[in-house]
């Protein structure tokens, strides 16, 4: 009879919505031991291939049961440079946990019985950070000088892999602060800034140099980087450009892209306005359009802003399919529900209406129903004609997806892109149409998860060494 999964401690919903403090507290040593002991050490484990970077999950969990925490840390670090980040943001229920033998679910995500691999990974990652465990690094053997463009998950991962293998790496970041989507997109209540800073600092310790405020394609061209002696270049440009609904009233005041709202709140700390000087507006009736992690992050940030400013919380997520089809992590959906965020399923926005000053006051919607499965396996949403209804809305956040950032690709003609303006690579080694220039992450193949980006970066690194 398998033991029940160990529940992770969390801040109570009514407490956590008043701050941006981390929601999930993580396992204690005792809890980690019990959870690890649930693993039956399958002879042929599926979890490892369920992980985009193939962490030796079986081994590190065994090491936890033996209380060899440092050993477990090194096991993870062999294939993943950022256990404290991935343990927090990986959609494990769609990946390693889905492949776990204890998973009873047939849907796209695992049932709760699957081993909480991500919480164990986080426990070990944090153990390593707390104990300042340094990973052995090869001497500076390589004559290569690598440039990594973009400091998001793909770029950081690539930089870490190269540095550990003795390559001199410089990371170029356009913003004033590193981390890409980990910093501007994912809120601190999911990924505390100290953790992100610590993981980036770990790369600095490996000798990685970071150059912020440099937009490659504007401040410096790809060609110039090659001429400056960077003989291997990795492009982790991300999918940074927000998509819009293309409906009437979408440019009214207080209609935000999720990116803008999150950049203001997370990167610029607008929730601490006026101590931090970037403003962000908040409303009494906030609507968030979309069903992914970005939508949930934006909704939870909005709810916290309402709380902090003494507004009675009212945030609704409007999604054209149902909960089952939502691409968001299950834990985030659950957290959002606990915090009082309302979900309006099978609803498609039609038009934003303005007040006399040009601020949004209402969203007209259409009702939908589910149709057959589409190419992605999810059931389509079909609009029901003449089903118009109105929702009050004085602040809207559009979180319906992201497209490729073209600042670099549009200024680098030799760099081949597809119809989505994503960079075309050789799937074997992630090399682009330009020799010695590699790419990975969301700029290749569109929006994915943090760990998928890291998986691509690792593959590229193999080709770059």
């Amino acid at each position: 009879m398998p033991k029940a999964p160990v529940k992770v401690k969390e801040l109570a919903a009514q407490v956590r919505v008043s701050s941006f403090n981390e929601v999930v507290c993580g396992y204690s040593q005792a809890e980690a031991l019990v959870e690890a002991s649930r693993c039956i050490q399958c002879k042929n484990p599926n979890c490892i291939s369920g992980c985009p970077v193939n962490i030796n999950i079986k081994k590190f969990i065994y090491q936890i049961t033996q209380q060899e925490y440092a050993g477990a840390y090194f096991t993870i670090r062999e294939t993943n440079n950022f256990p404290s980040i991935c343990g927090r943001v990986c959609p494990a229920e769609y990946q390693c946990r889905k492949a776990c033998v204890f998973n009873k679910s047939k849907s796209s995500y695992s049932s709760p019985e699957a081993i909480n691999i991500h919480f164990l990974e986080r426990f070990i990652g944090d153990y390593g950070l707390e104990h300042n465990l340094d990973v052995p690094q090869k001497d500076n053997l390589s004559k290569d000088k690598a440039a990594v463009v973009g400091s998001g998950p793909a770029g950081l991962c690539c930089a870490g892999e190269l540095a550990r293998n003795g390559v001199k790496v410089t990371v170029f970041e356009g913003l004033h602060s590193c981390g890409g989507v980990l910093r501007y997109g994912i809120p601190s209540f999911r990924l505390p800034r100290e953790i992100l800073d610590a993981e980036i600092n770990y790369l600095s310790k490996l000798g990685v140099e970071f150059k912020t405020n440099l937009v490659v394609g504007k401040s410096v061209s790809l060609d110039e980087l090659l001429r400056q002696g960077f003989n291997k270049i990795f492009l982790g440009l991300g999918a940074g450009v927000p998509s819009f609904l293309v409906i009437k009233g979408e440019n009214l005041c207080n209609v935000y892209s999720a990116n803008e709202f999150l950049v203001r709140v997370n990167l610029m700390s607008a929730y601490k306005f006026p101590e931090y000087q970037t403003p962000v507006n908040i409303g009494k009736n906030v609507l968030v359009v979309g069903g992914g992690n970005t939508a949930i992050d934006a909704a939870r940030c909005a709810l916290r802003l309402q709380k902090i400013q003494g507004i009675k919380p009212s945030v609704k997520i409007v999604y054209r399919r149902t909960e089952v089809e939502m691409p968001a992590r299950r834990l985030e959906i659950q957290h959002a529900q606990e915090e009082g965020i309302e979900f309006k399923f099978l609803v498609q926005p039609k038009e934003f209406m303005a007040d006399e000053r040009g601020f949004v006051r209402q969203l007209t919607c259409l009702k939908c129903q589910l149709g057959d499965a589409d190419d992605s396996g999810r059931r389509r949403s079909l609009v029901i004609e003449n089903s118009d209804f109105n929702l009050p809305c004085d602040l809207a956040i559009i979180a319906i997806g992201l497209k490729a950032n073209q600042v670099l690709t549009s200024s680098t003609k030799e760099l081949k892109t597809d119809k989505y303006k994503d960079i075309i690579v050789d799937p074997q080694n992630m090399e682009t149409s330009i020799k010695n220039v590699f790419a990975g992450g969301d700029i290749v193949g569109g929006e994915g998860t943090v760990i998928e980006a890291m998986g691509m970066a690792k593959k590229a690194t193999a080709g770059m060494r």
Binding site: L214, C253, Q277
Partner: protein, 274 residues
């Protein structure tokens, strides 16, 4: 990012326009007319876009000119030579399409005068005949008059109160010019109502008109969409697609409304001491 020199170039009844010369080794080599940088005065500050008024590749500096209106521009104005900006990134945005158009009118209103200066210089070098109209509320707020006089084939100066040049508005001068002769390009930077009016005037005579928009921005690299404007019925991002657009295609009403989005917050933050 070190401030090499600072100069208060206009100061009248609490309105102050400041010029900062900043060390920017890379930006100064790359900057083209019409492009801008994003600056942060301090770690807790906002990111704001400012036009690159001058770039000196030899001295490795750029010059930024701004009116101290909001908290961030006031914070920038409080910095002195020797201080450092917290963040400086650029050159961003598309450069002005410079070629020999023929006869060009450039119009600068208020601090917009600083923004037409680099474009005027480049257009002059490309062989254009330049008629430049600059306007301000009062003579003390007129900037770069001498510099522009040097490159203009004809310079018109107007002030709201008649304290310098003609009393009146830049747009009236433009109207007269267009009624008397034909011009190949009009280039205008200033307050939204001025640019909107310019657009209306030049549309009547079918004169190609470029404006540089002052939409609000955050990252200014195409990430956030804060600066989106409707141009020819399509949504464009001022930061990466602009900041310059054909004036007759811009949805001016939408732009002016969007630029009011944080007025309440700005009032609030300017009242308190930080």
């Amino acid at each position: 990012m070190k401030i090499i020199a600072k100069q208060i170039i206009a100061d009248h009844l609490g309105v102050r326009i400041t010029s900062l010369c900043v060390a920017a080794p890379q930006i100064s080599q790359k900057a083209l007319a019409g492009q801008f940088v994003v600056v942060m005065a301090s770690e807790k500050g906002e990111r704001i876009p400012l036009t690159i008024v001058q770039a000196d590749p030899q001295e490795k500096t750029i010059t930024l000119i701004f009116q101290e209106v909001g908290l961030t521009t006031k914070a920038l104005g409080a910095l002195n030579a020797g201080d450092h900006l917290y963040s400086l990134v650029g050159p961003l945005g598309q450069a002005t399409p410079i070629k020999d158009y023929g006869k060009v009118v450039l119009i600068g209103g208020g601090v917009g005068i600083a923004e037409i200066y680099p474009v005027a210089k480049s257009l002059k070098q490309a062989g254009n005949h330049l008629t430049i109209i600059i306007g301000a509320r009062h003579k003390e707020l007129l900037i770069l008059e001498d510099a522009l006089k040097n490159i203009a084939d004809k310079l018109y100066v107007v002030t709201d109160d008649g304290s310098a040049g003609e009393k009146g508005f830049t747009t009236s001068v433009l109207e007269n010019l267009l009624s008397e002769g034909k011009y190949d390009l009009v280039y205008a930077v200033g307050p939204i109502p001025m640019m909107h009016k310019v657009s209306a005037i030049t549309q009547a005579s079918h004169t190609k008109t470029i404006v540089s928009l002052n939409a609000l921005m955050v990252d200014a690299t195409g990430l956030c969409g804060c600066c989106r404007v409707t141009v020819a019925g399509e949504v464009k991002f001022s930061c990466v697609d602009g900041p310059e657009f054909d004036a007759d295609q811009v949805d001016w009403e939408e732009l002016s409304k969007r630029n009011t989005m944080y007025l309440d917050k700005e009032k609030h933050i300017c009242k308190i001491k930080i």
